[in-house]
């Protein structure tokens, strides 16, 4: 029974005990690193196989369709069929492409998607490496994606690909700022950058204390992974399909896997930073429940992102960038300073939390009001009043 209670950690212990009977100490660490590494690196692939199916089903239901239903029961093998297709599809490299850079870009982007999982806390003592700089590591790994996108756009020698790449980069850069500021607010409240420390600091999930930081991070994350309504990077009807038009076969497949891997990763980060990560009822007594809670919360965030995609129209790029710089950045900065102010007030923690929540709601209200006014002014300027339409 005790074995079951902390099932995953005990399995790992038994495994380590077994291999240490015939391996030296450094060999045990090496083997463990490699095993954990392989499991975590496969997360984006796993995410693609499950989330593409889930997304098709969810979007299908939202649009009053059934979704995939041919390959296997309820179409669950659809993703496998897609994977096989990617694998056996002919690979086409355009004539004047910069070949080494062209081939390197998908490898970099998929590798970066895998790297994110090194610091993800699945449960108590279930983390690849609990780095001192945990959350900042995640942001830093994200910058590899920026470089890979530019490489793909440049190397394809295609105007659409290059325009797409620049749009993506402008979007990634613009939304990284509110993302960093939201994370900084969480770090300020938790007092640590360790992923485990942030989870342990959430006596109540931070979403109930810092809704502005949650919304800022959530929208920024949706933009970073190019989810609708921020999916301008592959606005099919405007710039063909973005920076990876020229890619086919598995090279395209890696971009696809990176996209879904990043979707899953940012949902997991949202769950960790704002929804309490692996914390939940009885998670302290039965640590094996931790990963379950973590996955459920992550899937919940994924579902939220799919729901938004199914129901919201796409933004224009000017609206999108203006939203990042003129709404999210000032709101996140105000939130950061407000949390800092409240933390210095000589009050018990629960009162501080209520004050923070109050300030957050005020910021939300002000931002929403100003946004509404700006939208009305913009509509009037383009004479798009309901009467005119």
């Amino acid at each position: 029974m005790d074995y079951i209670r902390d099932f995953f950690v005990n399995i790992a212990r038994s495994w380590t005990a077994w291999i240490s009977t015939f391996l030296p100490d450094w060999g045990v660490s090496l083997v463990n690193y490699i095993v954990v590494g392989i499991i975590l690196v496969l997360m984006p692939v796993l995410a693609t196989l499950t989330l593409t199916w889930m997304e098709r089903k969810v979007i299908g239901r939202i649009q009053n369709r059934i979704g995939p239903n041919r390959v296997g029961p309820w179409g669950i093998f659809q993703a496998i069929a897609d994977a096989v297709k990617m694998l056996i599809k002919e690979d086409i490299i355009p004539d004047r492409a910069d070949r080494p850079v062209f081939n390197l870009a998908p490898i970099l982007i998929a590798g970066a998607a895998g790297l994110l999982w090194a610091v993800m806390p699945f449960g108590r003592r279930m983390i690849g490496a609990d780095l001192n700089v945990g959350v900042l590591y995640i942001v830093a790994v994200g910058s590899i994606t920026t470089v890979a996108v530019i490489m793909a756009g440049w190397a394809s020698n295609n105007k659409f690909a290059l325009i797409g790449a620049f749009r993506v980069v402008a979007q990634l850069l613009s939304y990284e700022v509110p993302m960093i500021l939201s994370i900084a607010t969480v770090v300020l409240l938790a007092g640590t950058m360790r992923m485990m420390g942030i989870v342990e600091a959430q006596v109540i999930p931070f979403i109930f204390i810092l809704p502005v930081a949650f919304i800022g991070y959530f929208l920024a994350a949706a933009a970073e992974v190019g989810r609708a309504p921020f999916d301008l990077l592959e606005a099919d009807s405007e710039i063909v399909a973005g920076y990876f038009v020229e890619y086919s076969g598995l090279k395209f497949g890696w971009f696809y896997i990176a996209e879904y891997g990043n979707l899953f990763a940012v949902s997991a980060i949202t769950a960790t930073l704002f929804l309490g990560g692996w914390r939940g009822p009885f998670a302290n007594a039965v640590p094996a429940l931790g990963p379950l809670y973590f996955i459920i919360k992550t899937i919940l965030v994924v579902f939220l992102l799919m729901w938004i995609r199914g129901t919201w129209p796409r933004f224009r790029i000017d609206q999108m960038l203006a939203f990042a710089w003129k709404v999210l950045v000032p709101a996140s900065l105000a939130n950061l300073l407000w949390v800092a102010v409240v933390l210095k007030l000589p009050l018990p923690a629960p009162v501080q939390w209520i004050l923070m929540l109050g300030g957050n709601l005020l910021i939300l209200f002000v931002a929403a009001t100003l946004l509404g006014r700006a939208a009305k002014r913009d509509a009037a300027k383009h004479s798009l009043t309901p009467a005119a339409v």
């Binding site: 850079v101 780095l131 001192n132 700089v133 910058s143 530019i150 980069v169 850069l173 990284e176 950058m193």
Partner: protein
Amino acid sequence: MQQVMFIVLSLVTLAAALMVVIARSMFRAALWLVLTFFGIAGLFILLHAEFIAVAQVLIYVGAISTLIIFAIMLSRGVMDPDARRFNDQWGVVAGFGAVLFVLLAAVVTRTRWPVALADVPADAIQRLGGDFVGSYVIPFEVASVLLVVAMIGAIIIAREQES
């Protein structure tokens, strides 16, 4: 083990740096620059300066390389791949660089550095934050002013002329 890692990382860094200065295509040079930055971040980790390593990746790879690549794209029309990479004095400059390296190497290896090895404090990042608003508050605020002034200046310079 650390020696091996050090040698691998420094070879990668130096080779990539060399490619930065001799690559024909500016875009390729920028990509080699990114690799150089990663190598240097690795060296920082070997030196137990993890925060600086992450900052290196965040600022140099995420921000400065992007700026450089954007500038390359903006000034691309004039770059034909057959153009000369170096100016006429490049031979002299290369000699100067080699001599400089020999001089520096001589100084570095001859000097007896007052090495005082100790363990890195566990709260290095906290101390860093404390120093920013403590004894180094003037440079800290000046950094903010510098960033804003640089931004304003660059916006004025880079904006397209209003027609």
